[in-house]
Amino acid sequence: MERECAELLPSVCAVLADSKESVPDDTCLEKLLDWFRELTGKVPGLSLLQQNPCLTDLISSVHKLSDPDPSILSFISRLAGLLAASEDAFYCLEQQSILTELFGNRELTETDATVRCGWIHGLLSMLQHWPAMKFILKHELIAVILKLQRDSSLFVASAANQLLAHILTFPKHQEASPGSMYSEWTECVKEIARHVEDSLESGIPQHVQQSLKLVTLALGNCQPVVMEMLWQKVGGPMESLLEKDPTNMAQRLMELLLTASRTPLFNSADSKIVTVMSLMLCSLTPTLAIPLASGILKLENCPESLRIKAQRVVLHPMDCILNTTDQQPQNAGLLDEFVCKESVIEDQLSRKASCISLLCLSLSHAGELADVPSVSVELTSGSLFNSVLAVLQLCIGVAVPTTPAYICRHLIGCVRVQRFAVDTLGSLSKQTGSTDFVEQVFNILLEYLINPDTESSVLKKVMQAILQWFSHHSDLPRVWHSLNQDLFPVLKKRLCDVRWEVRDSALEFLTQLTLNFQGKTEFPPILLSSGILKLLLDLLSDSESYVRASAVTALGQTAYITNNNEENLNSESGTSVQEDVASRLVDILAQDTEGFPRRAVVKVFADWLKQRSRLTIQNFEESAASVLKYGSNDLDWEVKIHSLEMAEVYINQTLSKSISACPYAVVQSTNSKNETLTESLQKLFNLKIFEVLLAGLYDCDRPVAQKACTILISLKQVILEDREALNLKGLTWAPDILSKCFSKHSKMAVCGGTNSSLQAGGDLVEILSILDLETMQQALERSSDYIENSPRSLLQDILAATETTEDNAIDCY
């Protein structure tokens, strides 16, 4: 602990112990605990206590107060627990009876929920050693914890469960326990197991749920003997729970069974896990059975019969839909056999609300099925594709169910189902056999794109799905035909949609499409002849800044295509588009009031610069110089960072040319190398890159200064390596810039006293040497524009807050 903190701590403890003082901010105590947690990780708890006796005084005094603040009481319980996590500190506190008075005080567990929560968390932190376990058992705290496990507060009950699970999984090895502790602990485990059994048989839903949660928490990490003991207690009641109250308990039972399936219990003949799971699949309502089935399908070593059953459960609703729309009854359905009665599914589908939730569940889990290797093989029959397509058709009214008609009424225009179905269709694109469905998939996705009623979030998903199908099937000529004939005309409409969400999603889609397919010979001509580029230019002046930014990014990406395919274009118009783009982007950077488009412009230019060999934009240097100028003076620090990144690319490119001027020469001509480096630096100077870097170095936003510093350090390394050979006498600009810069920041300690020497000098090498960049970098790493966020600052804040009397704590902005 820092000396200053140690000095402040007693006063802070005194404030906390004073019931008349109130803590200023509800986060202060949490942050104090964070600090102590960090400290106990570094310093033994005992020495913390010995060096700071105020801590012991605080803990012992607060709970003796007649009406302590619940948050302070909770705090000291947690603090005591943290400190007592080390055995020595535990003994120290226990010798003074502090722990007994605090944790043995049952009244604490009968007051405020915050106090109850703190009490449990304290014990949880403390329980790191056998003496702590002994303490819990000696004071018969298990009964209290078990009571809290049924607490009305979610937070308390959940914390109590964590503590109980920790107790159940406590000993990792039997021999590690001292004396009779192991047998005492075993008795305690039995008590908890009995409690679990009682709860499960109680018929009180909250008690049952909590105990099922507890067993689920413990099963994964406990010893086999505990595992068996718990399972014995759970097995019997579980079956009756399934009979009595399957609806309310299904979720918890499912979690329990799936956790148990990942333990050795799964393979034990007595555990009946497979039997119960199988029973649940048949007896639960489909909406409850589907998540269980999905969990079963992800299990390793799952028996084949159970797996098949689970698969049938997931797909049954989809099978119904398939049958509903199938015009040719002789076609094979999705499933040959069902787990639950058809009438049950039909009943669910006959009511709108249950129909929608059932289909959403089935669709989302069916989509996941496609990713499970053991399952996906069996899904290639095509029926799953057909059923998802059928759902999408019903939702948009392009398919009419043969019978019953209500399905159509339920689904038409249902956005929720549409979202799930489109997602599932997208994830099916990578399935083997998907090639056969490309035509149908494109048709339905296009229908959605065309339909003016399609909701914007669905449209976004539709475009994502199209991209997935394109990516997996770009070798099919049909894809390119569809792109040209169908997709681009619709996309053009969507780029002019009244909803900004749709325009933006369409632009993002176009960017991705261009990125993925720019290497394919088929794509560029289609894009260039589509007329979309003109629209993109229009969208640069969209009213919504998100859209303008996306248009900038899209144009940035399409530039590679317009450039590389000039032969496919009327060359005149092609060049003019590019020139126009570059100047338009510079205008946006200079004038746009929003950060997103400006950020996008600098990013695009940085990207263009990186790949400039692929581009032939006229007057590129000029535009890039403007971007650098505007970008580095932007109000948005992220724009400045991107500008510096752009400068970095410039520097690397320029210097790499000079340094690797003739990599294969046996004897390099020193002279020619010198000239090249000098020339390169001159070039960078002409672009005012040093000005940008040095201004950035003193920027008030730390990330900008950090970036500039990093670039300057690498620049310095390159230049100083060649110091002897470098002739920079002609470059008289550097001191001017620096002196300007330093006079502006004359108060900055780092530059103190360097002004005069700089003016006298005239050498970039010297400037870079004078600037202690490494120290600056270190300082920037530790510092920021923010106030000190140290424990000392926190302690000061707590003390200061008690001195102000104004009641402003509860106000909010």
């Binding site: 200023p24 986060t27 929608i356 929720r416 936003d701 300082a779 510092s783 920021s784």
Partner: protein, 600 residues
């Protein structure tokens, strides 16, 4: 019994962040999804694992509703929708949808610049999240699905703030978000109709406060600014981009005009235009005065307030600057503060609350030496003033809203436990309704007693209306008919129509009773006596002597038989149908008393 459950994950007995889960009629709705700005790790966001362990929020939640654009109400939204994963609909008003991303982006920029910040959302995530938002209009009933509907009401507080009514069938909840019951310079007062929700979830920031006059606070504010400017000092007012800032701008603009002051007033660059843009766009959300004068003059186009450039901070002479962010924790406001802090002529006015760890918090608690991370120590000589201009309803306003909405119960959130306790008692006393104040993680449950709507056939209504006195809304009357539950609806129809619709045939249910009396007369004479007796007693009923030897009163049949061995004991067989049950019972009692002596 149907019930509504409310569980706060945030704002339960605190003002940190709002996130309240409501389960109503089998639907789960999240009200607000706020961020706690006092933390720099995951603790700033609500812990969604309490809602669902498997992160399938989309399957669990039917929708999310955001009351207004303040980050303690919407700041966790991108985290929830993009990082935890929620694909369902998010509802907010049009102004909130427009302004929310600006504030989220502003905060993101500040946060990612900070050291030690973990797990924060990106610009792209904010955008993707906003694409899931469905904007709603005031008083527009939005159908989330077939059963769940929501409706927004004006809440004052900030531009676009709304209260939401959530309704499933006949059960309903109203969530106020933050609201203000008194109009201010640019916004109106909150208003709701008498919607009688089962629960009114109300904020209670000023649960025990009757706030001092706003005029006093304004006067105080203007006086302080004026004095500082007069002595040549500079005034810094750290604000959040949109919200209270506009209120203070209008205040200063009017004052400068009236006093003919010359010192420049500046507003952070970019934000003035942005604020102007949104206030023009959503002019209908401002108060009446602004709307009225809008044609002649846009109140948000200020004469005296100019855009600020960083270099102006070094200009000599007095000036007033509104700069963001409001807690002096980063960016322009902190930059200016550092420049001006050393001069005792200057002043900083903090118009809102600051979390621990910010410069704002430090100076408000009176600290004079601030240590900046790794850099210099800053000495604060300038004057520091705190003036709350946040627009929340005070105790009086909360009571007023309860009176307006007439809820069946109230649930308090967004306030301190002790103060809530006081208000809770007051509400329970005055309105004689339950008031809950669950802590975070605790669930408040209200049993509802929903009315079931029943359609009634017009023919039946007419028939029933014709039977008795004219319909009167003040005197409820019992209607008779057959209730049919078919196709998820209930209808009251005539029995005949019910039989027809259901394809059933009618069964007659008759009650029979034997009454023994002593009468020496013959069977026929006894019957005659009965006939004339009943004729004289039951004058209003139709009584017939049928040729088959029975007497019939309405549908009731009476037969007489005598046992051979005891001829003076007569057994009367009385039989009646269900419709005449009352009369049947009466007749039996009457006959048991015996017959009058024969006159013939």
């Amino acid at each position: 019994m149907p019930q509504i459950q409310v569980t706060p994950l945030g704002a339960g007995q605190d003002v940190g962040r709002s996130c309240i889960l409501v389960s109503i009629g089998g639907k789960n709705v999240m009200l607000d999804c706020g961020m706690h700005m006092g933390y720099n790790d995951d603790r700033r966001f609500p812990d969604f694992s309490y809602i669902t362990q498997n992160s399938r929020l989309t399957e669990f939640l039917d929708c999310v509703i955001i009351s207004h654009f303040h980050l303690d109400h919407c700041g966790a939204l991108p985290y929830m929708s993009e990082m935890v994963g929620f694909d369902g609909p998010i509802y907010m008003t049009h102004p909130t949808k427009a302004i929310c991303p600006i504030l989220l982006e502003d905060y993101r920029k500040i946060t990612v610049d900070k050291k030690g910040e973990t797990n924060f959302f990106t610009s792209q995530m904010i955008k993707d999240c906003m694409k899931k938002v469905v904007a709603v209009n005031l008083h527009q009933t939005v159908q989330v699905d077939d059963e769940l509907e929501i409706k927004a009401y004006y809440a004052g507080h900030v531009l676009g703030a709304a209260m939401f009514q959530i309704k499933v069938g006949l059960e309903s909840v109203v969530y106020t978000g933050d609201y203000n019951m008194t109009p201010d310079r640019h916004l109106g007062a909150a208003w709701i109709d008498k919607c009688r929700p089962d629960i009114l979830i109300s904020e209670s920031t000023y649960a025990t406060t009757i706030r001092d006059s706003k005029r006093c606070r304004e006067r105080d504010f203007l006086k302080k600014v004026h004095e500082t400017v007069e002595r040549g000092g500079k005034v810094l007012i750290p604000v959040f981009a949109l919200g209270r800032a506009q209120e203070l701008c209008i205040l200063l603009e009017t004052f400068w005009d009236r006093m003919n002051l010359k010192a420049p007033i500046y507003f952070s660059t970019g934000l003035t235009e942005k604020a102007n843009h949104y206030y023009k766009l959503f002019i209908t959300w401002t108060n009446q005065k602004i709307r009225k004068t809008f044609v002649q003059r846009n109140m948000f186009e200020f004469k005296h307030i100019k855009a600020f450039d960083r270099s102006y901070a070094d200009n000599p002479g007095p000036m007033v600057v509104f700069a963001t962010p409001g807690m002096l924790h980063a960016g322009q406001s902190l930059h200016i503060f550092k420049k001006w802090a050393g001069n005792e002529k200057n002043m900083v006015i903090m118009p809102g609350y600051c979390v621990q760890g910010t410069v704002g918090h430090k100076i408000l608690s009176g600290q004079k030496k601030l240590e900046m991370e790794g850099r210099q120590t800053l000495e604060v000589k300038m004057q520091v003033e705190y003036m709350s201009f946040s627009a929340h309803a005070d105790a009086k306003g909360i009571m007023q809203l309860i009176r307006m909405a007439e809820p069946r119960s109230v649930l308090l959130v967004h306030g301190e436990a002790k103060k809530m306790e006081f208000l809770k008692q007051k509400i329970e006393q005055e309105f004689n309704i339950n008031c809950f104040m669950p802590a975070n993680g605790e669930t408040a449950t209200t049993v509802t007693n929903p009315n079931v709507p029943v359609d009634i056939a017009l023919s039946l209504l007419k028939r029933e209306a014709a039977l008795g006195p004219l319909p009167d809304p003040k005197k409820p009357r019992t209607m008779h008919g057959t209730l049919i539950m078919k196709d998820n609806s209930l209808r009251l129809v005539t029995p005949e129509q019910a039989l027809k619709e259901l394809g059933l045939s009618e069964h007659q249910l008759r009650f029979t009773c034997r009454v023994q009396i002593q009468n020496p007369q013959s069977e026929q004479d006894t019957l005659n006596t009965i006939y004339s007796h009943l004729k004289s007693v039951l004058k209003e009923h139709s009584i017939q002597h049928l040729p088959d030897g029975t007497v019939m009163v309405e549908s009731i049949l009476i037969k007489v038989s005598a046992a051979a061995e005891e001829p003076s004991t007569k057994t009367l067989l009385v039989s009646w149908s269900y419709q005449d049950e009352e009369l049947g019972g009466y007749l039996c009692t009457l006959l048991r008393k015996g017959l009058p002596q024969s006159t013939g």
